[in-house]
Symmetry: D4
Amino acid sequence: MNESELRQLLAAVGRGEIAPESAAVRVLDALRAAPFEDLGFARVDHHRAVRLGFPEVVFGQAKTPAQVAAIAARIAARGDSLLITRTTAEVHAAVASVVGEATWHETARIVSRPGATPPPPGHGVILVASAGTSDLPVAEEAAVTAEMMGNTVDRLYDVGVAGLHRLLGERARLAQARVLIVVAGMEGALPSVVGGLVGVPVVAVPSSVGYGANFHGLSALLGMLNTCAPGVAVVNIDNGFGAATMASRINHL
Amino acid sequence: MNESELRQLLAAVGRGEIAPESAAVRVLDALRAAPFEDLGFARVDHHRAVRLGFPEVVFGQAKTPAQVAAIAARIAARGDSLLITRTTAEVHAAVASVVGEATWHETARIVSRPGATPPPPGHGVILVASAGTSDLPVAEEAAVTAEMMGNTVDRLYDVGVAGLHRLLGERARLAQARVLIVVAGMEGALPSVVGGLVGVPVVAVPSSVGYGANFHGLSALLGMLNTCAPGVAVVNIDNGFGAATMASRINHL
Amino acid sequence: MNESELRQLLAAVGRGEIAPESAAVRVLDALRAAPFEDLGFARVDHHRAVRLGFPEVVFGQAKTPAQVAAIAARIAARGDSLLITRTTAEVHAAVASVVGEATWHETARIVSRPGATPPPPGHGVILVASAGTSDLPVAEEAAVTAEMMGNTVDRLYDVGVAGLHRLLGERARLAQARVLIVVAGMEGALPSVVGGLVGVPVVAVPSSVGYGANFHGLSALLGMLNTCAPGVAVVNIDNGFGAATMASRINHL
Amino acid sequence: MNESELRQLLAAVGRGEIAPESAAVRVLDALRAAPFEDLGFARVDHHRAVRLGFPEVVFGQAKTPAQVAAIAARIAARGDSLLITRTTAEVHAAVASVVGEATWHETARIVSRPGATPPPPGHGVILVASAGTSDLPVAEEAAVTAEMMGNTVDRLYDVGVAGLHRLLGERARLAQARVLIVVAGMEGALPSVVGGLVGVPVVAVPSSVGYGANFHGLSALLGMLNTCAPGVAVVNIDNGFGAATMASRINHL
Amino acid sequence: MNESELRQLLAAVGRGEIAPESAAVRVLDALRAAPFEDLGFARVDHHRAVRLGFPEVVFGQAKTPAQVAAIAARIAARGDSLLITRTTAEVHAAVASVVGEATWHETARIVSRPGATPPPPGHGVILVASAGTSDLPVAEEAAVTAEMMGNTVDRLYDVGVAGLHRLLGERARLAQARVLIVVAGMEGALPSVVGGLVGVPVVAVPSSVGYGANFHGLSALLGMLNTCAPGVAVVNIDNGFGAATMASRINHL
Amino acid sequence: MNESELRQLLAAVGRGEIAPESAAVRVLDALRAAPFEDLGFARVDHHRAVRLGFPEVVFGQAKTPAQVAAIAARIAARGDSLLITRTTAEVHAAVASVVGEATWHETARIVSRPGATPPPPGHGVILVASAGTSDLPVAEEAAVTAEMMGNTVDRLYDVGVAGLHRLLGERARLAQARVLIVVAGMEGALPSVVGGLVGVPVVAVPSSVGYGANFHGLSALLGMLNTCAPGVAVVNIDNGFGAATMASRINHL
Amino acid sequence: MNESELRQLLAAVGRGEIAPESAAVRVLDALRAAPFEDLGFARVDHHRAVRLGFPEVVFGQAKTPAQVAAIAARIAARGDSLLITRTTAEVHAAVASVVGEATWHETARIVSRPGATPPPPGHGVILVASAGTSDLPVAEEAAVTAEMMGNTVDRLYDVGVAGLHRLLGERARLAQARVLIVVAGMEGALPSVVGGLVGVPVVAVPSSVGYGANFHGLSALLGMLNTCAPGVAVVNIDNGFGAATMASRINHL
Amino acid sequence: MNESELRQLLAAVGRGEIAPESAAVRVLDALRAAPFEDLGFARVDHHRAVRLGFPEVVFGQAKTPAQVAAIAARIAARGDSLLITRTTAEVHAAVASVVGEATWHETARIVSRPGATPPPPGHGVILVASAGTSDLPVAEEAAVTAEMMGNTVDRLYDVGVAGLHRLLGERARLAQARVLIVVAGMEGALPSVVGGLVGVPVVAVPSSVGYGANFHGLSALLGMLNTCAPGVAVVNIDNGFGAATMASRINHL
């Protein structure tokens, strides 16, 4: 119930068309309205698309296939886009059995299914760059998520700083993107170099690729947070999904 | 031997009814009395119910099924409530084979068996809230433990701060609880928001749900320890059991 | 505007006693009502006493004396209790010059001033125990805060576990308290021992007393979080204030 | 030398108007051209405005006043905007003595001086929110930097999650911004709540406000990196400047 | 009251020489007897010499001069040895003014004063070795403490592993000691080398000498804990006092 | 070649009984003499028993069964005591097949085989205490190692501080030991309490028992390093072997 | 296109032998020339041998066998040396099936295949020392890599500091090497001792051998970074490959 | 006494020219010879120049001016080069007063004084590069140390990766160096880029320049240890001295 609806309701009460008690119930109902469905173990946030521009995405880790399938069924039932991250082929099967068709992105570890209406398209290209081949799962999680959210994605993989000419040779592609997602493990230096080459926003994703003093991605994370380049912000280690939501918000402005 | 028993004993000695040496032996015995049973590899603390209000609970992790079953047998033999945490279906089977019936709580990873007499009931409701569906094992460990200790438990799951209306819509249930247990992983922000909404004690439980810079629950733990909300105290990562013992002590005051 | 006020208002509209538009304005006003005062650099939360049982407390660290004094003036103007933590004698002077009298608790580093009406009294005694003399600033922050919130406080200082008889000799005082606040630095073992002796809630406060592998209180914090005793929850390092708010909430149930 | 200049040069060689050797020198010179000035201890990157949209900003920390003044003189001499961060009143004096007028932003710890031509204006409003009053130095560093870069800035301070109504009451201002910069210390929960309320990009800045297990901002940093809200990316602890460069790039798309 | 005293008391009750109630009071008194003095802010543990072989030592850090002087006065009044560690010349003055003479060990940062009777002598020599000259404050804290506890001390300083011949040349002195205290900062390798050369117990003390990835002594601490040499145990960073108490206990066996 | 042998050799050269060149060869040989056997991948240190009082012990972790068996064969061939730690039943089989009989200590994860001559006996009893049943593997590693080194061992298990009476009831056994090894996980408080009860050396062993903020034994390690009790030194997490070598060196003084 | 080629081209244009536009295309082509092959998921850096002295080495971890085989095929097709680190027998099979023969180094976890022309030989010997037998996988990774890069390698294993004579007896071999690679886990003290014995460069490799407070190699890493010996530099934990590239660069000067 | 001297001595004994006992004394003396001077608090290692190629360098931190001056006097008395690092102007004065002239390098925080004979010259140029102006103290410590050790040094400052053209424009100077020392703070990416451009050894020095998640240089340190570039090894944070000793050893091969 928005402001004008409230005004109309009260005018109707004033005109005697609606009983006061009945109006009170409607006002209270609106205040109490819960734009989510309670499954007991989960509360599916159906209001999210209105509020944030994209329906709730299911974080697959540490949920049972049955739990994910139940949530997916409710999202699909409303015709919303379905996106499940950090999941498995087993979950894909469980979901497909309840929602019909669904796509399994193996490298990205994502299950997806388009909604009834496509999301509004982004204004430009989101370029996803990775430092190495081992970063592909994270880069693909970002790329698939961004595509699901209505963005055009350009992939530029294996352009790490130890062979700088591979990156410098692609300056044109960098320049044509509206937002950059840059994935790197080990020392995580690629966003610093990229952030110094172009003037668009750079979303940096540390990957956990490495060993030893990498400490599961800590080295890349700290490197990116301490970048000397301007225009770089960072998401969690291996968080391709988070980078894509940030980039998509920027690309939809 | 308490103070009045000591007085009576000495009076009897004074009256010549009890020989001094025999009284000395009894005083010394009482001082040496070991209210525990020594199994060699374990000393079952049978005195704990008297001292702390609930019998010794068995920490299942890193004990063999045989060790747990032996301890459980001694507790059951005294008619005490049996509660085994962080355990497995295999241990459940081993325990059941020596104590007869016992319940296996799969999500909570708990084996329980009521004692001969029920614990004294708590005064109000303990509400267990969780930020997400993935936090359920920890939330259930807290809920089952609290129930075993004589408390009424209200469960409010998947009300994380990214969809605030799911929580705000349940303010009434929050307000009706006497103590809150709030479980959250990732950034662990839920107890801060809850602690600012109600005036009862909040026991915060960081869960290890997350990845990357979550560092196995460290992010949620630090977030909760640094809460800007008053009336919040924290237990170990994933420690649903510890939260329940704290909440139960509060609820029994 | 609560539910019955809303019902009465709408009935009056129904009776034609209040114009619909005027009622609309009142409903919207109530929804928009901001129970805080905006000072530009701060928003004083005057609603907090109603919501949480005690007015907003000022966290003195990293605020200028002028900022603290301005906030204090607004709180005092409403007749609310004034409590400023982690502050200095210099701030005390600045505050006193705008609110008239105010007390400077040197060891606790607190400035306080009672409100127009005293807070409701707690039901029992809060005992504040400390492991060593060096923990006094933290213990006193807890004790002074608890007293300001209407609690009776018993102080039991320097009863660390290396001389256990000092603690065991005071078991009676421990037993008489309704809540315990236990402050300890170094290895932070005192709450574990206390939590095994009594059955009431224990709020543990790690202090930063120590050096070397103490890492500014980390050793005590981890020790307390990993306590093997039931009924213990932990607040931030040196957070006497937070322990007192938790204990006071418990003591007011 | 761009592509068309190269084509014209070679055509002129083909027409015999320019000697081959002289053309070779010009091509080689262009390749070697260094768009920076070498002061020995510093290389001022005059090319940065062309490449990244804003001239080089001086990081004041750990540089002597004389070094900063020398660098500032070279930037001012070219009519570029001058921005010096993490600096002191002493440096301000040294800079002013060589470049004439310059503004000292005390809370933000910034020295600034407009360039000969104003930067291109951003498309919308950048809202800078802070959780507490103690976060002001970081929030102001972000706000002043964003203004210097041509953006309109809206300031919303002291809206931390422990008094949620202060934030919820300002949802309209949040909704009107094109980009949000959200500064918070302690548990750093504010960006999670904000990211769940609006659909625009959120740049989160952990501040070092806090103590104990805050570990100089680590708790807020980890909290923000692990946010469960979509559309949030993070910069270094206390890095108001970095947040502003990211937000400004977004706002200039 | 020991066992034979208890027996005699009860026999006297049996003989009617002592009234039962009066005996009860004496037994209860003995149980309650507090072998410490309560100064309010401190409980001086006068029983410690009997229990542990040396009176309570005062940890000077974070105590005010007045507090330390008050504690010192009570210890001196009983004729016990006085030892104050981690203290200052200012505290020395305050203590001297209440106990008369006291020695100030500048390098060791210790105030000491012999008790009425000397401690029992250790059986052999405690050798204190240090890797570098910068480790002297820690090494001297160990040496002075050990001497105060009745041990003969041999000092062997600046024998770090980068110049191995300096150590190998002193193998004879190493061989003559009954216990070794080995202090080293930086990589803390000295105890590993020493532990492989001799067969007596080695108490290793990491010092905080170093910088950078030394992390205030963490590198030396971890190095010593992970020693590949047998017969080495470790105390806290810079804890010369703790090393000396361990070594002295060994030397008095 | 010792000093007197050198003198005799040179005298023989002086007497012409031995040719100078032949004497030179013998001196050089002695200097080069390698009291170890080189297996290529390992250098078995046969000199260790002479130097340190016990033969080289084999650290089983990260060695292949074949490697361990080859080393064991060389040690057994000399009639030395064989002790292999952190090993498996599979390695036991491999070793037994080359050295004949060998004992497999399952809980302690040790393979042992007595040498031709027993080690010299220690002077007193080494008491091994553990806080919980889950600490048994570490406690048994210490106990078995100490026994192999000639010590009498007393085992006192499951006496953690949450049920203090279990420990206080055994004060007599504590008092009769010459050295204590105290194993504890979680908060690691047991050595602090024990160190305050008795005056003999306490070797503390943090175990990795726990979860969450235990960080694989870090909490217990830091707790023990920061103990407020005198006479305690610490070995690596789970290092029962190291504790036993320290205790045995003490017990053989 | 190098400088003289550019000069010749322009001269030809001047002489009318080459059309200006055609020359422009050739210059632009050369600038754009990408000395790598793009496989989509990987960009094989064929230019690396020219630039850095050795072809691109394949980091096997987190790549699928198919990915590694595809990259290997491209390298082998050019006749370059093939070196794949941190890989498995399964990958070896996949590679061998596409490139024909290839060697599987089991301990080193390396697949190698010589190039068409051998690399230039190093000037001296690279000695690889290890502290223990458990360090062999890392030491062998270093040794095999160094050999593939044209160096003569001397292996000196199991010379840890707890049995110093094993190292001192090999001083001659240390002295004959031109560069030393020193691998050690646990406390990582070996490079400190070695760096104090000889005057050539020491490349230190911390291994993850150990447990507990070893923290997966952190103790050895910090120990080596804090070495008190001159002439020591460090690579990542377990990074035998990195140590070999550093040593080989030194040995080829 | 080397091998040939021993042979001559024994031959002389054989010829009766030297008495056996007198020869024994000489052999034993040589074995016992202590090539250091014992000042009580320090053992000056005069043998180091012979063994390692450069005399002992004094680590100034945590030593008193008097201690440093005493050590300096002994080094100067032998005509050795004097080099004191991490020191102050006050120490310079104290040293100058005992050794006559000495140079104070303010930025490098070094006191130096040439020895009687210059060190042998290095074979090529050592280039010291820094990412920013704030890194100068560390870079200069490296440069001054390298010069004192006989090397020619080329300084290339402020060439961080955010303005890559500043570095790429100096590829020629990089190519002409025999060893590179690369200093960088913040994300520490410069050595990765440099290591991919040239084929000579790179000694990377993380500096503590930065703030927040820099954690006093940890981010740069981890970044460098995890470099994806070959031929890079790392020294401690801010350890310009250590980098210079490594580079000088390489440059003197």
